[in-house]
Subunit: 327 residues, 2 copies
């Protein structure tokens, strides 16, 4: 079938171990034999079989990446920078979608374990996850991204969500805008919770009363943003300013406003979390919070490599990346 070290060895008239040493850049090999072996490798078009190597070395140079859904610009932005950063170190990524489903997430984790990946990076499907503890106990390097999980002590890369929304609300208040509607995400996600917290905290700090009825919750998806905006606009005294906690709900909300432009009793201005490619042209624009998407991925990649190479530290590292207010 395919050409192996043995074939190369025979062709170069050396032993298999010598070929192996050449492949692995072992310094104590003479220039001469090295050249000869290289020659044979080229002639025979030898390609190393990493499966066999992995079996021996217990390293696959593969990292698993699990995220709630693939066709999601935010997650894929992260995946992209993870892939790039890991690629620099000879690692590749196996991508899995969990469908925002804890059961499937666990399934994927098992799959990746069986594939013997060297580590797993995951954007958790929810705040629940005893399976992560099992994973850690098994010794698998693990990095959580974007969200935390209850009762799990693990290394993680997050964004400073609280201060993110806080700064946006603070800015609006500074502009004299006090009545600010809010569209939040699923409160089982730490990111959603934290963004909500930043909103509440800013209002409190500036002594702005909190109005329950102008606070709505969706699930970070387009459709829920649409509905939340609809219910806000259906209020007798609908808010003129609204803060939306992620990109996709922002899109849904804008969609509602565009489709119902005629029926609106007043103008609306939207501020929002996330600054994706299209955020700036969605219109209705107030301020927005940019997440350092690329940085998130790079940090996650570096963190997992560090764990793989140096072992888990005693206390888990939590990297919190700053957000930027775009006015």
């Amino acid at each position: 079938m395919s050409v192996t070290v043995k074939d190369v060895a025979r062709h170069a008239e050396v032993s298999a171990s010598t070929v192996s040493r050449v492949i692995n850049d072992d310094p104590r090999i003479s220039e001469k034999t090295k050249r000869r072996v290289m020659e044979s490798i080229k002639i025979l078009r030898y390609k190393i079989n990493n499966i066999a190597r992995s079996l021996k070395t217990n390293r696959t140079h593969s990292i698993g990446f699990i995220c709630p859904e693939l066709p999601n610009a935010f997650f894929m932005g992260i995946a992209g920078s993870i892939e790039e950063e890991l690629g620099k170190h000879g690692y590749s990524i196996i991508i899995c979608g969990s469908n925002e489903n804890v059961v499937k997430e666990e399934e994927r984790i098992n799959l990746l374990r069986e594939k013997c990946v060297d580590g797993i990076i995951v954007i958790p499907a929810s705040d629940e996850g005893k399976h992560f503890n099992q994973l850690k106990e098994s010794g698998m390097p693990l990095v959580l991204v974007d969200r935390l999980v209850n009762n799990i002590v693990a290394d993680a890369v997050l964004v400073d969500n609280v201060n993110g929304s806080y700064s946006a609300i603070e800015y609006l208040i500074g502009k004299g805008i006090k009545r600010i509607g809010f569209i939040g995400g699923d409160m089982r996600l730490t990111s959603a919770k934290e963004r909500y917290e930043g909103y509440i905290r800013a209002l409190n700090d500036y002594c702005v009363p909190i109005e329950e009825q102008i606070i709505k919750f969706g699930d970070f998806h387009v459709e829920s943003g649409y509905k939340a905006m609809a219910s806000l606009m259906a209020l007798r005294e609908s808010p003129h300013n609204i803060f939306i906690s992620n990109y996709f709900m922002h899109v849904g909300a804008v969609k509602y406003l565009i489709e119902n432009a005629g029926a609106l009793s007043h103008e609306v201005s939207i501020s929002n979390f996330d600054d994706m490619e299209l955020s700036s042209i969605l219109g209705f624009s107030g301020v927005r919070i940019r997440q350092p998407v690329g940085e998130i991925g790079i940090n996650a990649a570096r963190l997992i490599l560090q764990i793989i190479n140096k072992g888990v530290g005693d206390s888990p590292q939590i990297v919190r990346l700053k957000t930027f207010l775009i006015t």
Copy 2:
């Protein structure tokens, strides 16, 4: 380190092969021993080592997926459905970005070969690719997606680009609109070429003269759409209707129009290829062509599995999926 078949065998007081048979659902194993082995597997928390299995079976159940860039909603839509479809058959995907760079693409292919993937699905970086021939000669199952490559005979999943843009232009002409500007992609991509061909063919068929100066070319990215729109709007007689050949250039073009709304001498209506999540709310809306993104992925996945399982057919299969005109 980790528990192996041998450990399970010892614990269940059977031989390693029996354990292996249980794992692989070999029918000729007695219910009783099967149960006992399963028990031991559970107790010892045995997890199969697929690396070792792969070494033996020459199957990794991994498929490589190479695309020009990861954070791209279109590519990732395809990746997502590939992942899902392959997942149903026990396969996972290793994702690689080629950075729209043929050299890196080749590098990635070699990486995937060394990882012994069972097949490779690629959205080519350009129309150039002798490396694909080498790959095919090596016996690696290969499926091209979205674009073809010169002089390469390979199975592929494509979209009917020509008829896609033809039908849009035809529709506009039917509405009495004859002067239609065009923003195309990099003509080294077959998809860009075909969309342009559809435009030209429709104009010819309806005896509409072709005006070179209202035809611009970008590179399928946001920025180039912005620039192309700018140069169209800078014309003395800028077109009122414009057809744009993909989503990202559409975004860029809209961005230009929004930013320069005041300076425009007339209204503009945009028709475009692609119907992504946000296409419908970008405004300036004429008609658009929907690509069946999910279907593309599903077909690619099925095709690669078919090649893996039944071998390459004598003549390559080219699946051409229909597009839909959304009015």
